[in-house]
Symmetry: C2
């Protein structure tokens, strides 16, 4: 690994249901084998039609319908577990960057499948084998601010397990598993911003091809120290 | 923002107490104004002599002496709050990548001050105004794997608050605060690896100069939904 570069994909139009995002990406960038294409969740939700046309007063109803479990609440803030097992604000339901006023964007039904579909289509169009990550901005317990994390992935080594490897002293690393896909998601967010309509970035120079999915990032309940 | 690049700084020796890390970095890389120099916590702890020379059987004692509060335990796993307010495994005490067998590495006393000192010294040596982030690998509730986060920062816009800004539809973003320093920390980890002794990376192409510290990333207890 000599150098990692991250470039936003510029000039994408406002996305609509049914759009061929892979084609739009292909028109605007030259992919190389091993690139990781990072796409924000809202872009995927829009092309998949995961939009609720409701008044903002009905937002709580939509949130609860998207939630498997409410984890914490304070005032209008709801931290909920989604069907996918992700724990995040409003079960991922959001009014910002929605297609138009009076709409809410919901998480994709199966973001790993969304990532996989986009990856296949990019492969068809470009002949390049790439990885794809679908990201969303999650808050964290005990820390201020959100970071982007992977909610969907395809063709990526999502977790890198260093178990059994040794440090330079020969000390065996017992349980170092790095959430690479989340670090890539956060890295890509740095070039995308929230406001200037750049929902896709290309990460180049990593050696992270693999077979993980974002579901692998969800801690099984029986191993979780937190409820 | 057109492109972000991240490069590891190669060829650093094993670090010892009192080493002039800024000088070592300067010898191995050309810094530009606005670069962010990311350094893993263990490098800082080693040059600051934050090493406990104890048998691993005494590790729990050291952890508890470094902890302000124990948050969760399971078997030998202790999640604790450090003096700085960080919540992490073993209160940041770690045997991997320690200077030699029979030693434990502790977190720096004041990682923001460590970052600030390194930043000043880099400024003296290079004439460049850069940002510095000190990182550590933390686990997260509900998600598998660690990501690197900022435990020290200087000259950086640690949190970017989009409050009051509007999305392309004019929807006002109510509470979008991005933990930029944590995303930079994770991004840098991608090129550093755990094993091949590259504790420093240079992030170029961001526009993140500012005055934040990693303490700003700690959620105040009265605002936290989690204990």
């Amino acid at each position: 690994m000599s150098e990692l570069t991250i470039r936003p994909v510029r000039g994408l139009p406002e996305l609509r249901e049914g759009d061929d995002l892979a084609h739009m990406i292909r028109e605007r960038t030259d992919l190389e084998a091993g690139d990781v294409v990072v796409v924000v969740q809202k872009a995927i939700s829009k092309i998949e039609g995961r939009i609720a046309r409701v008044d903002e007063s009905e937002k709580m109803e939509v949130i609860l319908s998207e939630a498997k479990r409410v984890v914490r609440t304070r005032g209008s803030l709801v931290i909920a577990e989604t069907r996918h097992g992700f724990i995040c604000a409003s079960a991922g339901v959001d009014a910002s960057n929605a297609p138009e006023p009076g709409t809410l964007v919901l998480l994709p039904i199966d973001p790993d499948a969304s990532a996989s579909l986009l990856r296949e289509r990019l492969g068809e169009l470009t002949g390049r084998v790439v990885g794809v990550i679908v990201t969303d901005s999650f808050g964290r317990p005990w820390r201020q601010g959100t970071t982007d994390v992977a909610i969907g992935a395809a063709g990526i080594e999502v977790l890198r397990d260093l178990k059994g490897e040794r440090d330079p002293n020969g000390y065996e690393l017992k349980s170092t598993v790095i959430a690479i896909a989340d670090e890539i998601a956060g890295a890509a967010q740095l070039v995308m911003g929230k406001l200037d309509r750049t929902p896709v970035a290309i990460v180049r120079g990593l050696d992270v091809a693999g077979h993980g999915t974002a579901r692998d990032l969800v801690m099984p309940a029986d191993r979780s120290l937190f409820d």
